[in-house]
């Protein structure tokens, strides 16, 4: 699982691609192009539905899966479609503690998406800052920073996550830190690459000759032009972060049992698979799969839309 998304770092800066009315903002133009792409639209719909389910879980879920008063051990391991003593139908069955899986999955989605988004956002900010700084500083600073990035990227992400989880212990904050550490380097390298290309362009030279302050050149002029490849990397990285968190939680070294993400739900059903009670692991897994496919479809389409040189 190392890195399919590394491919996306080869995306080059350049937005002057989509033939559209010049009055439209690039963001809006990209969004409209996404809506016209069948696969991307599918991805947007899937991701949208899952996101809504996660946000509205406390309202929509038939049961609060972590309120012990609402659970009845007598309802444990009911097959999908089974009914509880109190007449509630469990469309996706229940786990060993009699927890409704639909509710558990909705709450699990909340945790998974939260961890994925927060870690990707923090890594994005840190990585982008370092990448921009590295490109702008150049020389020795650049060489040292990029060597660190190279070394880090030569190790599989799961190994780095393992190291940091071993050091930090368990917890939502801990896993977010571990995911940030595994990911910042991707953003740093992407941004530095496109920043180097941009810094040789005439508008940066113009800004420099006007003696604009460094900060304003970097953030007002350089950064916006580095955004297209960054958006692509960020989309793919969110999916990857969610997957990595699920994997680590499945291994029992990610999130604690009190904050069950989709990975932990799958892990809870692991031992019952051999006795044929497939649903406890199966449905959380399908949900995770849909979420990741949805985000990847959007990312794939974004890469095509934002990169003029790519064909087919």
């Amino acid at each position: 699982m190392s890195n399919p998304h590394e491919l996306s770092t080869s995306v080059h800066a350049g937005t002057e691609t989509i033939a559209a009315k010049p009055a439209m903002s690039p963001l809006k133009r990209t969004f409209i192009a996404l809506l016209h792409n069948r696969l991307a639209l599918t991805g947007l719909i899937i991701t949208g539905i899952l996101l809504l389910a996660a946000i509205l879980a406390p309202v929509l879920a038939p049961q609060d899966p972590y309120d012990l008063a609402q659970l009845d051990i007598m309802d444990g391991r009911l097959a999908p479609g089974g009914e509880s003593m109190s007449g509630l139908t469990y469309w996706l069955g229940t786990d060993t503690q009699g927890r409704d899986l639909v509710s558990a999955i909705m709450y699990g989605l909340r945790t998974s998406i939260l961890v994925g988004l927060v870690s990707a956002a923090v890594a994005l900010v840190i990585g982008t800052s370092i990448g921009l700084f590295s490109a702008y500083a150049g020389g020795r600073t650049d060489a040292v920073l990029m060597r660190i990035v190279d070394i880090q990227l030569s190790f599989p992400s799961i190994l780095i996550a393992l190291i940091f989880l071993a050091i930090l212990g368990q917890g939502v904050d801990k896993i977010i830190i571990a995911l940030v550490v595994t990911q910042w380097a991707y953003y740093a390298r992407t941004v530095r690459g496109s920043a180097l290309v941009e810094s040789k362009r005439a508008y940066i030279e113009a800004a420099r000759s006007m003696a604009l302050p460094d900060r304003s050149i970097i953030f007002r002029h350089m950064l916006p032009n580095c955004l297209p490849p960054l958006i692509v990397v960020a989309t793919m990285r969110v999916a990857y972060a969610i997957m990595l968190e699920a994997t680590l939680s499945f291994l029992g070294i990610g999130l604690p049992v009190t904050e069950p993400s989709l990975g932990l739900l799958i892990s809870n059903g692991f031992e019952y698979i051999l006795s044929g009670d497939y649903w406890i692991s199966f449905f959380p897994g399908i949900t995770l799969l849909l979420l990741i496919v949805g985000i990847n479809l959007i990312g794939d389409a974004l890469r095509d839309i934002l990169n003029p040189r790519r064909e087919g």
Partner: protein
């Protein structure tokens, strides 16, 4: 070349040092392994005895320097849990992990390259589109979940293949391997395919992209123009130029297969070193965690170095430099 090698060795040593310091101090701060290891009924006197036996009563920097001094002589300390040298524990389990990773790599190449070539040559055919859909799925499917589904289908429902363990092994050059016996092979298929799935998708994509790029280059057009048969163009011109970049990928992916074996080993109860490290993290068995990480880091550094050198051999345009690359 020698200055290049030298700088790489220095780099590896620095990485090892930083990593060991981080992990050592980190594990020290997370908790006291004695709390996990001793039962709650242990008397304070017993507790103290164990703490002293492990040297845990001394300040952390002193513990680290003791560890460092011993590590230089090849002694990474005894496991708190097994009371055996941590290095031995890792080395005993390494062949199982390496076998799993190699078989997965071979699967990825044997399946991925032909499918990728086909998809690259006929990008618009229905088969190619199915291949590409499969590869997107391969990227998106959570490996651990697919492992569970494979157990569910092939072991529980169909009963074709065993769900866990390594099966019968035979010695090959003093190393136990399982792919030479039918029992061992049947145990190997599911975990290896599970581990390979992601890499198959990756190899398909890379091969396809390579073929599509090379097909448009001038030398292929020229070969066509002078009437060279299509099969020869493919064999001589396209394949050679596509496979060179794959070398780098294969090397790096071998490292990642070894790391991700952690997941597959946990699912299929494969007795490799990945399973050991997960258990050791849980009980704060510091010597084993450190030994695993040190060995893996060294292994990766060697793999990366070999890949870089190989790459410069097959593609003379790439130069190895000691300084910044």
């Amino acid at each position: 070349m020698s200055s290049y090698l030298f700088s790489r060795v220095i780099q590896t040593i620095v990485t090892l040092f930083v990593m060991s310091l981080l992990v050592f101090v980190g594990l020290y701060l997370v908790g006291n392994p004695v709390d996990v290891l001793l039962s709650s009924s242990a008397t304070p006197a017993e507790r103290l005895e164990v703490i002293q036996a492990f040297g845990l009563d001394r300040p952390v920097w002193e513990q680290y320097f003791v560890f460092l001094g011993k590590a230089l002589t090849g002694d990474l300390g005894n496991s708190f849990v097994f009371n055996q040298p941590a290095l031995d524990l890792i080395l005993q389990r390494m062949p199982a992990t390496l076998e799993l990773a190699f078989v997965a790599l071979v699967m990825a190449l044997v399946l991925g390259i032909p499918l990728g070539i086909y998809a690259g040559l006929k990008p618009h055919s229905l088969v190619s589109k199915s291949i590409m859909t499969f590869s997107i799925l391969g990227f998106s499917l959570p490996t651990f979940w697919i492992g569970l589904i494979m157990i569910m289908v092939f072991s529980v429902q169909l009963g074709w293949l065993p769900a866990s363990g390594r099966g019968q092994t035979v010695e090959l050059l003093g190393v136990p391997v399982s792919f030479l016996t039918w029992d061992g092979l049947s145990h190997l298929i599911l975990p290896a395919f599970n581990l390979a799935l992601f890499k198959i998708s990756l190899v398909i994509r890379l091969t396809r992209a390579g073929v599509m790029e090379v097909m448009q280059l001038d030398f292929v057009r020229f070969a066509r123009a002078k009437g060279m048969p299509e099969s020869r163009i493919l064999r001589v011109h396209v394949l050679k130029n596509t496979l060179i970049p794959l070398i780098t990928v294969i090397g790096l992916e071998l490292g990642s297969l070894i790391a991700f074996a952690v997941v597959t080993e946990t699912i299929f109860a494969w007795p490799g070193m990945g399973k050991l490290i997960i258990d050791s993290i849980a009980v704060l068995d510091r010597p084993v965690v450190l030994a695993y990480l040190m060995i893996t880091v060294i292994m990766f550094s060697v793999i990366n170095l070999v890949v870089d050198i190989l790459y410069s051999v097959v593609d003379p345009r790439v130069r190895l430099e000691g300084g910044s690359r």
